[in-house]
Amino acid sequence: MTSYAKSLEMLFGGDIIFLTGVFLSHTLNLLKTPFHEFHVSQGAKMVGFAGWDMPLLYRGIIAEHQHTRKSASVFDVSHMGRVKFTGPDAVKFLNHLLTRNIAGAAVGQSLYSLVCNENGGVLDDVIVSRMEKYHLMVCNASNRLKLLAWFDRHRTGFDVQISDETLQTAMVALQGPKVIELLDAVLPKPVAGLKRYHCMMQRYMFIPFTVCRSGYTGEDGVEVICGNSAALMAIKFLLKSDGQGTESLVQPAGLGARDTLRLEAGMPLYGHELSETVDPISAGLNWAVAKDKDFIGSKALAGLVQHGTPQKLVGLLVDSPRTPRQDMTVLAGGKPVGRITSATASPTMGRTIAMAYVQSEFSEPGTAVEVDLRGTPLAATVTKLPFYKRAG
């Protein structure tokens, strides 16, 4: 048995060494989150991801995926970057770098945004929250150092302080239909009234933390940020809160389930759907590109909005139990018209789903295409994203 290097390297951020057909994560020099000991104690299969030693799975990717869809899961997302912006020019500076206009954001509001280069290529996708005394950006782990360098390069003339808090803080995502109810039974301030893409500060036993109604699974839920020292206590508390041990309502879920969940929800993943050679318009993120301000990349993007993009991100329903992998060719009438960015055997839909960039003329829902799986053509139909939308 030998794995295909390309898909795995893309999947795990290039941290895989191939050794006589086996892939092993680097165990040296990987960063550990405050939950590392917890992951190991839960029997997690650990994997190197963007320089961090992270849980790929605990019990199984499909089981964790299904548990998230019907109950509540806790994901350690402490590897993601957390960067604070303060100072008189913080808003001006962020508005120079972000595709969204954050000047109008209310205190406690979060905005999904892109950071683009001058050509409109995506450097990262981020969430920026306006808190009372600062702006907080959450970015991809794989892009954190690149972004910090990018901010440093563009800060001249702005009175702004940029503070990378990633290593001093922890972050967990609680996702699933039972999360809000569960939290409201234990937290001092109810989160049921917290709007989607809004945050609040809370305190529990004198420990402050930030709760944001957001996530990356297609389910309702929150993302919680707290100091490193409070992190482990918090996760133990959560998993014990209904006193059921292994049958607990809240179960830990790893990066594997996080990926299949976001794919069903049609959410882009940097390194797959997004990269420096892809623009947000092609990626279907026109809604996250402000038309009322100038920012790095705005000229290039305005042109794309006006003239249309040659390719578009689409969903594919694949008529095969086989799973295409990243960069496989999409064909129409035997000719290449696109490439696969992500695919999986969807646990919720019970069929193979994929995302792909295709030439715009083949992007209409219902268009019949094929995926070239190393010489075997798999029939597929273009479909609207997302594949999965929760009820209510």
Binding site: M1, G21, T323
Partner: protein, 126 residues
Amino acid sequence: MASPTDRFYTETHEWIKLQGERVLLGITRFAVDELTDVTFVELPAIGKTLTVGKAFGEIESVKATSELYAPVDGAVVEVNDAVKNDPSTINQDPYEAGWLVAVKTGPVDTSKLMSAAQYDAKFNIH
């Protein structure tokens, strides 16, 4: 968990179990754990010839696609339909219910294969 001692192993994580004129063939627990949830397996038809070291099938999981390599020369005499119909059988029981194919062989040269102890030592399985 130590690998079963009643069979032989390859560096590419296949196992064979000698059954007189034929061998049963599957993949190891270690391989299954690396793959994660198996979603599809492509196996050769009955009568197909296997050649040592050559790919004879493919296995796909939620995370990866891998080729299966023949540990022996021979002809496929039986295919495990249970794993084709429900690939998760391979995750649940890679050594018994999750076998892949039965192959009719001549006398098998096991000198190029590993014992369970050798395999476990090589991949730090215990």
